[in-house]
Structures are given as structure tokens and as C-alpha cells.
């Protein structure tokens, strides 16, 4: 166990724990509401409080413009950010991994040294984000469905659009593994296809699966964020007219960032605090991924001559 891996795991475990149990310790709940108050003290000095309130003792992370506690909002949203990204990453790996393993195992082609890219790659000009935007934009504004239902739709879409890349990575790795000597020996002593996949190929792919899993989480988190910049929030968007305003229904973290984008110049904590939490969360996974890569590198890599 190395330091980066440990630090990363610590951050993630703490955040998951906070998301599960944090609401019982938080000073304010999500429906507590700080209105405009005017208090006159003994000397006759008036004290006017208007939300948004900057971080202070009573509100450690401040409040938003409507006077709701930022900490409570972050805790409420954390469930969506954390668990939806986990679910998406797991289902992408399950689906893409199975397809890739299968295709790589049955494929007749030899693995190419440099990837031979089909000409269809010009479709890279249309990024995944646009595809998801196209699908979601029609249904995400003021939906009648529950936030959970909307989240499920988004999760399914994000899983489907992310599966092909996972599958192609896994296919390549399987194709390389399939050519190894130990597979040949396993075949020569009469192992069946299922045994070869289960006992010889899959264990070697495990590390790739693990690293890919962490990367997929980071990828889906950044997609959440990109969508949120364009007012598509996880769990649906509430759109207010006059003035036009977009509000996340679930308080999901990237949604909080997206809806607070205008606070760049004033009341900056409303934007900055969710942004920091979001960055720390990604950082945690990044550390885990570095740690894992280091662990595997020490086992297998060759040494540079220069």
C-alpha cells in the first residue's frame, strides 16, 4: 500500500461516510431557511442580515441567495454525485468489459502495433457531451417525473455512450493476452474456452478493470459538470422565468456549480465551495488511480536506458 493510494482511499471513504451520515450531524437541515432579519442590540445599533450569508460560525459554509445552508445542500447532493457516478462506472465496466472480453477472445485479427483507426473517427468531432445534450435537453426542463427517475434516465444514457470506449480498450487488451504462451499451454492441456477466460485472461485484466473503473468515475463526473454548465442537471432542472433561472432539483454538486456560475464576481463562496468539494472528490479518485498504477508498475515495468 503506497501513500497516494492510502490518501485517495481515505478521502473517498470520508466523503462517502459524510454523504451517508452527515445529515445527522449537520447544524442545519435542508429545509431550514434564513430570511432577511433586522436585529437591534442593547446600544441601539441595528444589524441587518440578508442572505447570501458569508461563511461564519453559524453557517460554516455560508448560505445561498435564498438563505439555505450550503453545507446542508452539499450533503443532500452528495448522494447523487457519489453514488450515481459509481453506478455509471460499474455498469460501463460490466457492459463494456463483457463485450470487449468476448470480442477480443473471438476476434481473428492480430493486434496491431499502432492502432489502425477507422476513418469513421471524424465523428469524434461530435463529442459525447453533445450526444447527451441532444437527448436530455428536450426532457430535462421542469420534468414531471421524480428526480430519481430523471437521474436513472441520465445514468442509463451516460452508461450507453461510455460503453463503446471501455469495450474497445478491453478488446485490445484481451487480444494481446490471447497471444501469450500461457494461453497456448492452457489450450494444449485441453482447457475449454470458459476456463481460459475465467482462470487465465480475466485475472490478468483485473488491474486494467480497476484502473479503468477509477477513470470512468472521473469521466462521468466531468460529464456531469459539462452538462451542468449548460443547465442540464442530474435529476432534472427547475426553470424559473422572470428572471430566467435554472436550479438543480437534487443539489447534486456539479449542478450547484452550474447554477452558481454567475457568482464569479460577488458572493464567491456560493460558487467556490461546491467547486472545491467537487475538485477534492475527483482528486481522491485521481490519487487512487496513481497509487494503483504505481503498484502495478513496480511489478511489471522495464527500466529506461536514458
Amino acid at each position: 500500500m503506497n501513500k497516494s493510494l492510502l490518501a485517495g482511499l481515505l478521502i473517498i471513504v470520508l466523503m462517502i461516510a459524510a454523504s451517508l451520515f452527515g445529515q445527522y450531524f449537520a447544524p442545519h437541515s435542508l429545509d431550514e431557511h434564513q430570511g432577511v432579519t433586522y436585529v437591534v442590540d442593547g446600544n441601539g445599533d441595528g444589524d441587518l442580515t440578508v442572505p447570501p450569508i458569508a461563511p461564519n460560525k453559524q453557517y460554516p459554509l455560508g448560505t445561498d441567495k435564498e438563505g439555505y445552508d450550503m453545507l446542508a445542500k452539499l450533503l443532500a447532493g452528495s448522494k447523487y454525485t457519489i453514488f450515481v457516478s459509481l453506478v455509471i462506472a460499474i455498469s460501463r465496466l460490466l457492459l463494456g468489459g463483457t463485450i470487449g472480453l468476448f470480442l477480443g477472445y473471438i476476434s481473428k485479427a492480430k493486434p496491431a502495433r499502432t492502432e489502425k483507426l477507422p476513418i469513421w473517427n471524424i465523428l469524434n468531432g461530435i463529442p459525447i457531451f453533445i450526444i447527451v445534450w441532444m437527448i436530455m435537453i428536450g426532457i430535462t426542463m421542469n420534468p414531471a417525473a421524480s428526480p430519481l427517475y430523471m437521474t436513472t434516465i441520465l445514468a442509463v444514457i451516460l452508461t450507453l455512450v461510455g460503453t463503446p470506449t471501455v469495450a474497445s480498450t478491453m478488446k485490445e487488451k484481451t487480444m494481446i493476452l490471447r497471444e501469450k504462451q500461457f494461453i497456448l499451454s492452457a489450450k494444449s492441456i485441453g482447457s475449454g474456452h470458459f476456463t481460459i477466460i475465467r482462470r487465465h485472461i480475466f485475472p490478468h485484466l483485473l488491474e486494467s478493470f480497476l484502473i479503468l473503473f477509477v477513470q470512468e468515475i472521473v469521466l462521468s463526473l466531468s460529464l456531469f459538470g459539462q452538462l451542468a454548465i449548460f443547465n442540464i442537471f442530474v435529476g432534472g432542472t427547475t426553470q424559473y422565468f422572470d428572471p430566467v433561472q435554472y436550479v438543480s432539483r437534487t443539489n447534486e454538486w456539479s449542478g450547484l456549480i452550474g447554477q452558481a456560475r454567475d457568482y464569479l464576481f460577488i458572493y464567491q463562496w456560493v460558487l467556490f465551495i461546491p467547486l472545491v468539494v467537487y475538485i477534492v472528490f475527483i482528486l481522491g479518485f485521481h490519487l487512487i488511480s496513481i497509487g494503483l498504477e504505481q503498484t502495478y508498475k513496480q511489478k511489471f515495468s522495464k527500466v529506461s536506458h536514458i
Binding site: I119, I122, G125, I126, I229
Partner: protein, 295 residues
């Protein structure tokens, strides 16, 4: 599939894809009372038919901005040149910088620099943009001096420095990591050891023995690089308020009388055209580099 057939199928195939893909907002509907999803396939296909018919009459190249009708051809020019400027400069400088720095990172042993680089690479584009903007605002409030414009406030006075920095660093970052990885892999090969044994200088080995074997990977990864460049384009143009093609499509996709299918399709085709131009430009640069380095 033979290559000739692939190329002949390419244009109609991509056209078909864009046509189908643009109809999503028409096809996918939610019930406004129960929230259930429903698919309106016939509506989607009739939109395509309408677009085809409109091609001849010119109706498909008209769009509404709010309630005013504009011609697509009149308006696309300026957006095209804005996007073209950022994406060419970002792509060319990003790729060159990426390869050079990647070579450097492949051989250097400075760990912390690599760590910082990896960290910025994992951050989503919009986080980097927001942090850059934050930095500018912070410096401005502390010192009263505005280094760069945070965003464009009008088309006459576009923000240039900050968007360019962002369009360069994010794809360059990917390039650096990729080149550095393949560089350090290449340097473990036996022929490098052999070159060293012959007494060739370090610089010579790196540029004439290792780099030519890294360039094929760069070429193969160019589509991914372009994908990152284009994926981020949407975020840049939106956050920096640049009047490019993506902003043109996004801000007008839903006009007064609803979703404008023809505008979205035309806009995406324009983007693909840009993609093809910038991609061939980059391939040309790599081709030149190969000629210089190898012979």
C-alpha cells in the same frame, strides 16, 4: 472493408448519422403530467423529410433567432472564423507544445512536475476555466489590475488571452502525457541501448532514434486529441462568451417556435467541416516533422 469503399461510404454515412442524431429532441418526449418517456419516431422522420425538401427551396437554411428570421449563410461566416481561429491556434500550438514537453517529461526525472501535470489533466475543462477566471478576478480585487479579460462582453472586444490559454493547455496536456508515456516505453527498447553503446549523444538518440518511433502513436492518437479539442470548444465558447459556431447552434437551437432541427444539423455539419480542416492541418505538420526528423 476495402479503403475505397470506406471513403465512398464516409460522406453519406456521416450525413445520415448527423441527420438521425439531430432528431433526438423531436423523438424523445416526456409526458407533461406523468413524466413518462415516449418516443415520437414518425415526428422525427418527418422532420428529416422536411429538411430534405427545404434544401431545394432554401428553407432549411433559414432560422429563427428569437422571432427574427435570418439566413444561415449570412450568419455562419463570422462564427466560423471565430471558432476557426481558436481551434487552429489551440490545435497547432497545443500539439507542438505537447510533443516537445512530452519528450522532455519522458526523459526527465522531476517527479513533482509530472504530478502537477497529471493533476491538471484529470480536472475537467470547465473546472480549469473557472479556476483561471477566479485567479484573474482574485488578482484584480487584490491589486486592482486586470491582467486578461475574463470573458468577452461584446463581439468588438473579444477576450483573447484567456480562451487561447485554455484551448492550448487542455489538449496539450493530453498530448504531453501520451508522448511522455510512449517516450519512456520506447527508451526501454534494446536499440536505444545499442545507440548508446555506439557513443551517440543523448540528444541525438532522443530525436533521431526515439522520437520517430513515438510519432506513429501521436498520429494514431490525433483523433482523440481532436476529440478533446472539440469537446472543450463548447465549454470554452460558452464560459468565455465567444461568438463561435457552438454558441451559434446552442443559443438558437430552441427559438420562438421550438426546436430548430435544420439549424442544429447545419451547425454540426459546419463543426465537422472544421474538424476535417484542422485534422488535415495537423497531419500536414506531423508529416513535415517526420521529413525533418527522419531524413
Amino acid at each position: 472493408m476495402p479503403k475505397a469503399l470506406q471513403i465512398t461510404l464516409l460522406v453519406p454515412g456521416i450525413l445520415l448519422f448527423v441527420l438521425l442524431f439531430g432528431m433526438f429532441p423531436v423523438v424523445l418526449q416526456t409526458d407533461h403530467f406523468e413524466g413518462a418517456l415516449s418516443f415520437n419516431w414518425s415526428g422525427g422522420f418527418s422532420t428529416i423529410a422536411e429538411y430534405m425538401k427545404g434544401m431545394w427551396s432554401g428553407q432549411s437554411f433559414q432560422y429563427l433567432s428569437g422571432k427574427t428570421e435570418h439566413s444561415f449563410w449570412d450568419q455562419i461566416g463570422s462564427s466560423f472564423s471565430v471558432t476557426f481561429f481558436y481551434i487552429t491556434v489551440g490545435g497547432l500550438i497545443g500539439a507542438t507544445l505537447g510533443v516537445l514537453l512530452g519528450v522532455y517529461f519522458g526523459i526527465s526525472r522531476i517527479k513533482w512536475l509530472k504530478r502537477i501535470l497529471e493533476l491538471t489533466a484529470v480536472m475537467p475543462d470547465f473546472v480549469i476555466v473557472l479556476l483561471l477566471q477566479f485567479l484573474i478576478v482574485f488578482i484584480a480585487t487584490e491589486t486592482g489590475y486586470v491582467i486578461f479579460d475574463v470573458a468577452s462582453f461584446s463581439t468588438d472586444d473579444p477576450a483573447i488571452a484567456l480562451p487561447l490559454i485554455s484551448t492550448i493547455i487542455i489538449p496539450a496536456n493530453y498530448m504531453i502525457r501520451n508522448v511522455a508515456l510512449h517516450m519512456s516505453n520506447t527508451l526501454t527498447e534494446d536499440y536505444i541501448n545499442f545507440a548508446k553503446a555506439r557513443g551517440l549523444s543523448k540528444r541525438y538518440i532522443i530525436f533521431y532514434h526515439a522520437l520517430p518511433n513515438v510519432l506513429p502513436f501521436v498520429k494514431a492518437d490525433l483523433h482523440k486529441f481532436m476529440g478533446i479539442l472539440f469537446g472543450n470548444l463548447f465549454i470554452f465558447e460558452y464560459l468565455f462568451n465567444l461568438g463561435g459556431v457552438t454558441m451559434f447552434v446552442f443559443s438558437n437551437a430552441f427559438a420562438f417556435d421550438g426546436y430548430q432541427y435544420s439549424l442544429v444539423v447545419n451547425g454540426i455539419l459546419t463543426l465537422l467541416l472544421l474538424y476535417a480542416i484542422v485534422y488535415s492541418l495537423l497531419r500536414l505538420v506531423i508529416f513535415g516533422a517526420e521529413k525533418v526528423i527522419i531524413r
